[in-house]
């Protein structure tokens, strides 16, 4: 089972975020879940990867060539796939993913998370999408998604597309619950 993790590459963040990323890495490795991620060596991506590798897990990085040229890649991975651009990177990550987990991050992480939600709304991705809401980081986004629903930009049923986890342990519980959302997402894709 392959879990796609989106996460920050910033290291200048509260230590609690790093602890949560490391803890998730340990739990994923222990549960024998494969991980695919953006291949970064720093920030929460780096913390996650280090924890997985230290605990005998498997993690594949997918990174665009320009980021590798800049030296932003994690150099200790067993497998690193280099893509020509950002779009191809994300496409490859979704192709491999059985589930998506978003850790706190910046606009890159936000964009990846919202694409996952879009693909799920359209029935192009069927797995769970879990938002790790460490220190209530995603409160504004969760409120904004509710705002979309209240104003009919999203249907109420679409609320079932994502799960909010306060801790890495809750992320694991959602991953192992493995519930299907609805059989025919396209029937409700149009608002």
């Amino acid at each position: 089972m392959t879990i796609c993790v989106f996460a920050s590459s910033s290291s200048r963040i509260n230590h609690e975020y790093s602890i949560a990323a490391s803890t998730l890495g340990v739990l994923l490795a222990r549960s024998r879940m494969d991980v695919v991620f953006g291949g970064g060596g720093i920030g929460l991506m780096g913390k996650l990867a280090d924890a997985i590798l230290t605990n005998g897990g498997t993690i594949t990085g997918i990174i665009p060539s320009f980021m590798k040229d800049e030296g932003w890649d994690h150099t200790g991975l067993g497998e690193m796939i280099v893509t020509p651009d950002m779009g191809e990177r994300k496409k490859r990550m979704f192709e491999m993913a059985d589930a998506v987990v978003a850790l706190p991050g910046g606009v890159g992480t936000l964009e990846e998370l919202t694409e996952a939600l879009t693909l799920k709304q359209l029935g192009l991705f069927k797995g769970p999408i879990i938002i790790l809401n460490t220190l209530n980081f995603y409160k504004s986004l969760i409120d904004f998604l509710e705002h979309m629903i209240l104003n009919n930009f999203l249907r109420y049923e679409h609320k079932g597309m994502w799960e909010i986890a306060d801790t890495p342990e809750q992320v694991m519980a959602y991953l192992k619950k493995n519930e299907l959302w609805i059989n025919d997402p396209r029937s409700i894709a149009k608002i």
Binding site: T2, R32, T58, K176, K177
Partner: protein, 105 residues
Amino acid sequence: MVLEVNDSNFDEVVIKSEKPVMVDFWAEWCGPCRMITPIVEEISKEYSDKAVIAKCDVDSSPGVAAKFGIRNIPTILFFKDGNIADKQVGAVPKSNFVTKLNALI
């Protein structure tokens, strides 16, 4: 029939088997594992006289899973004469399993 193997009967059923053995390492919560369950059951019927087809729940058999370095599931190991002869990680089409199994018969 797919035999259930665990930490206590693994040696008896898999390692000492005279026929080639295919072992599906899985867990109840793993979606991709459930996707290949019907394939493994089909293969067990088709190869009932030529090979032993088994499955091992990694959560209830941590010993076997650790011994064979199962880092992700589903992982399918193919044994011949008590040794690992081949390996397949992830949910893949039936033909991948059949090809690997045929090579051992």
